[in-house]
């Protein structure tokens, strides 16, 4: 428990992603089985001990500490587990002699029932110091909240044993804590865990930005890049799961899709929502805004299923009827995919159409002319490329639509976090709500914290410090003299903003020192770019 408590403590105060990876990897390398497996389970949020809940901890404390003092403390600290770890009546500064190991803790926690937890948990707490108690309570309630995502923990696992992270991701969903087969494979070179019995997520193949590259249409196929969310549908053993880009299981959010695939296969496509108010290139897809209404919901109402039904526009097939097709070239997989369409419900699936272009210039012209809002750009896929997880140079390219640009005026700046904490690096900018020479005012239209180079950041930081007119905590209001060219992917109506508009992916494209503030764009100009 001591090593785990130290890990938790150090992760709490570590901000850099690399430093976090190093800490976790080091722990996983140096800690014996099965403790390291339990720790990995805790970090990935895979543990649940039903007898120990936040309320249990509160009850334990108020049996031992005056309830008023407990409440005052809890209000100040803001976290029940931490309050309990600090308030627990135990001698301070003495190292406990009978500290339990992580696997003993797991055994004891598992054995606890609602009836026994009030007598058993205190015995464990008595064997730990304040850091140990904190780690234990976080571990037991399954809510670590130390800035480590499940993905980060898996990357650290791969780093610890120098195995491919995609393989870890692939095996992950087929193993259970404390993951003995996973550690045996990664640390000791044993056979990998079996993957054919459960609906596993396979890491996606991803694309590089095309930038200045020109490719031959003889070698590459082109298709539209749709503006939905990339999903993977997996059917094994009568069970279907829908996975998001990050490998999260989102089957419950899109139950109609989970029901729609009924034979063994792994399919890759873009999840979209049917739109009624626009036809578009291939027809039927609403804009990303419509899809957003359905994201992040654990359950879906009948009304929502009726009004915004989902479907998947298929890009690829990875496995079919138990056969792994990933080694085949794209063109062959595409043939398999086209043959599959007959077996799929057309309400729920369609095929991503290929773009017929004779040459690259022709493709560029077609891309320019694309008017469908659900199109984000063009994908270029090497015809002979196998399906390889991750981003391998030269196989797939994405060629996004040119970003939209607008000139805004810098209004506020806030300090960043981590390495940027000494710089003003989060910028809020605005547009004029009318003619600035006739008394118009600036309304904030967005916020950006990237897009600039390190040198530009230094310059912006200096500009903010030298032109501050007001301070509100970490925020400075500037004299609104600087014009920033802001790039963004799209803009939508939004009731949450005073300007009534919200941008997607705004970033600072250029600092326009050459442009006076009153020549910056007006709200109307931005409004004209709304394409909902």
């Amino acid at each position: 428990m001591r090593a785990f408590a130290t890990l938790v403590d150090r992760l709490t105060y570590t901000r850099s992603r690399n430093a976090k990876l190093d800490l976790i990897a080091e722990y996983l390398r140096t800690t014996p089985d099965p403790d390291r497996g339990w720790a990995l389970a805790a970090l990935t949020g895979a543990l649940d001990f039903p007898a120990v809940k936040s309320g249990t901890i509160r009850n334990l404390l108020t049996e031992r500490v005056d309830p008023v003092l407990y409440t005052l403390s809890r209000d100040y600290v803001g976290d029940t587990a931490e309050t309990a770890s600090l308030l627990w009546p135990a001698p301070e500064g003495e190292t406990p002699t009978d500290e339990p190991g992580l696997s003993e803790v797991v055994d004891l926690l598992r054995a606890m029932t609602r009836g026994s937890v009030m007598t058993e948990l205190p015995k464990l707490l008595d064997r730990l110091d304040a850091n140990g108690r904190y780690a234990l309570l976080k571990f037991a309630t399954g809510a670590m909240r130390i800035g480590v995502s499940a993905r980060l923990a898996r990357v650290a696992f791969a780093q610890a044993f120098d195995v491919p992270v995609d393989a870890v991701e692939e095996y992950w969903h087929g193993v259970d804590p404390p993951y003995p087969t996973l550690f045996a494979w990664a640390a000791d070179g044993a056979d990998p865990p079996r993957t054919d019995l459960v609906p596993l997520f396979r890491p996606f193949m991803l694309a590089h930005p095309l930038e200045d590259t020109v490719v031959s249409m003889d070698d590459y196929a082109a298709e539209w890049k749709w503006d939905g969310i990339r999903v993977q549908l997996v059917h094994v053993n009568g069970e279907t799961r829908v996975y998001s880009r990050s490998g999260d299981d989102i089957s419950a959010t899109f139950p109609e899709m989970a029901e729609a695939l009924d034979f063994p296969a792994v399919l890759d496509g873009e999840l979209l929502v049917r739109g009624t108010h626009q036809g578009g290139e291939q027809g039927g897809a609403a804009s990303f805004n419509a899809l957003q209404q359905r994201l992040g919901r654990k359950t879906v109402s009948k009304k929502m299923l009726r009004e915004a039904p989902a479907f998947v526009r298929l890009y690829d097939v990875l496995l079919r009827d138990g056969e792994d097709l990933r080694e085949l070239g794209w063109a062959q997989r595409r043939e398999h995919l086209e043959l599959l369409m007959d077996r799929l419900d057309p309400e729920r699936f369609d095929l991503s159409r290929l773009i017929e272009a004779d040459n690259f210039a022709d493709l560029a012209a077609i891309r320019e002319g694309a008017r469908d809002d659900a199109i984000e750009g063009v994908m270029l896929k090497r015809r002979d490329a196998p399906y390889i997880a991750g981003r391998k140079v030269g196989l797939w390219y994405k060629w996004k639509r040119d970003p939209l640009l607008i000139d805004c005026v810098l209004m506020y700046a806030q300090r960043g976090s981590g390495k940027r904490s000494s710089f003003y690096s989060d910028f809020t900018f605005g547009c004029w709500d009318g003619d600035p020479d006739a008394g118009a005012e600036l309304l904030p239209v967005g916020k950006a914290y990237f897009g600039f180079t390190d040198d530009e950041l230094k310059w912006l930081d200096r500009h903010v410090r030298q032109n501050t007119v007001n301070r509100f905590g970490p925020v400075r209001e500037t004299d609104k003299s600087l014009v920033l060219e802001v790039a963004f992917d799209s803009v939508h109506e939004s009731k949450r903003h005073k300007s009534g508009l919200a941008m997607r992916f705004p970033r600072i494209n250029r600092i326009r020192q050459d442009k006076p503030a009153h020549e910056a764009d007006r709200i109307d100009a931005l409004k004209a770019l709304v394409r909902d």
Binding site: T12, T14, L69, L72, Y76, L86, Y134, S422
Partner: protein
């Protein structure tokens, strides 16, 4: 439980700007300029400039001189020796163990004894004299860390954490945020006691105060200015600076620093994270909860008055322990020195 008859203390009036002692027209730690000020210690929330006449220990006067320039009339009060203030009021200063020169003030009038602690702690501190228990009828205490979650660990362990972090970062440095008066010098002395005798580098804002401590007889070992030297020289070193410099442009001169902070607030993770601290060092010059409650037991006054801090919890504790207590609504006492 104290069985003495309850006196009325009408000669003493707590005011939002300090405690006013009417018979001698004097104020204790007033937050506005006054005719006569009795100052417990040099922290800015207790010692302010602009008073016509100041009673304080020799060290506190020296600190005030450094911070505000010469005051009008300075009276150096020796410890444990009663001073007549007029109007039948006597003041006696006793060590408070908070920072160099810090004192509690015992006021006596018509047979009634009142102790005003200013700020204090019970832990050993190599930079100042230890707190003494002074029996009294009314004990006026601070409550900066007046919550049972605050329990400061032994300082030796915190020093080990600091030295370990330095060892781990030979190509970087450890930047320790510590308040200029008291905390910085205590951290330096404790580092020396832990066997660390390398030069310690100082932010400009700490240099003068460290110089004054040495002049007043607190040896700090080799100190260097962190201003105007290259990043290479700071590699593998410990650098002390005021907390506000940790996240400011000043810190850009440091080679790959670990951000440490020496403060009692570091006990609470969220507080440490809010301040972007990577290495929290729980070191305080105030009493923790156990010290506060133990001191009230030791002094065993008829009444306890709480000046500043988290007074609600301490009042609750007094109530649970059948002790009379009240909160004084004081303004302007910030945590300069936590």
């Amino acid at each position: 439980m104290n069985t003495r008859a309850l006196p009325d203390f009408s000669w003493l009036s707590p005011d939002p700007h300090g405690i006013f002692v009417a018979p001698c027209n004097a104020w204790i730690d007033p937050s506005k300029p006054v005719e006569t000020a009795l100052v417990t210690h040099g922290h800015a929330d207790h010692a302010r400039g602009g008073h016509a006449r100041v009673f304080a220990t020799r060290e506190t006067l020296a600190i005030m001189n450094l911070r505000y320039g010469a005051a009008g009339d300075e009276i150096a009060v020796p410890l444990r020796e009663p001073v007549e203030l007029g109007g039948g009021v006597t003041a006696t200063y006793f060590p408070a163990g908070h920072v160099l020169g810090s004192a509690q003030i015992l006021l006596e009038h018509g047979g009634e004894r009142v102790v005003v602690t200013g700020d204090y702690k019970r832990r050993p501190d190599p930079t100042c004299e230890p707190f003494e228990v002074v029996p009294c009828d009314v004990f006026i205490t601070e409550a900066t860390f007046g919550l049972p979650v605050f329990r400061h660990p032994p300082i030796a362990g915190e020093m080990r954490k600091l030295l370990y972090a330095r060892e781990q970062r030979p190509d970087g440095c450890v930047a320790v945020g510590a308040y200029a008066l008291g905390k910085a010098q205590r951290v330096i002395c404790e580092l020396r006691r832990a066997g660390y005798h390398e030069p310690i580098y100082l932010h400009g804002a700490l240099e003068k105060m460290c110089g004054l401590y040495e002049e007043l007889g607190v040896p700090l070992g080799a100190l260097r200015s962190a201003t105007g030297i290259g990043k290479d020289e700071l590699k593998g070193q410990i650098v002390l600076c005021p907390p506000s410099a940790l996240n400011d442009r000043w810190s850009r001169r440091l080679p790959d620093p670990v951000t440490a902070m020496a403060s009692g607030w570091m006990r609470v993770r969220q507080r440490a994270r809010q301040r972007n601290v990577e290495l929290p060092l729980v070191i305080s010059d105030h009493c923790d909860w156990d010290e506060l409650t133990q001191t009230i037991r030791d002094v065993d006054p008829a009444e306890t008055w709480v000046t500043h801090g988290r007074e609600e919890a301490l009042l609750r504790w007094c109530q649970l322990n059948q002790r009379r207590a009240r909160a004084l609504a004081m303004v302007g006492y910030e945590d300069e020195d936590d």
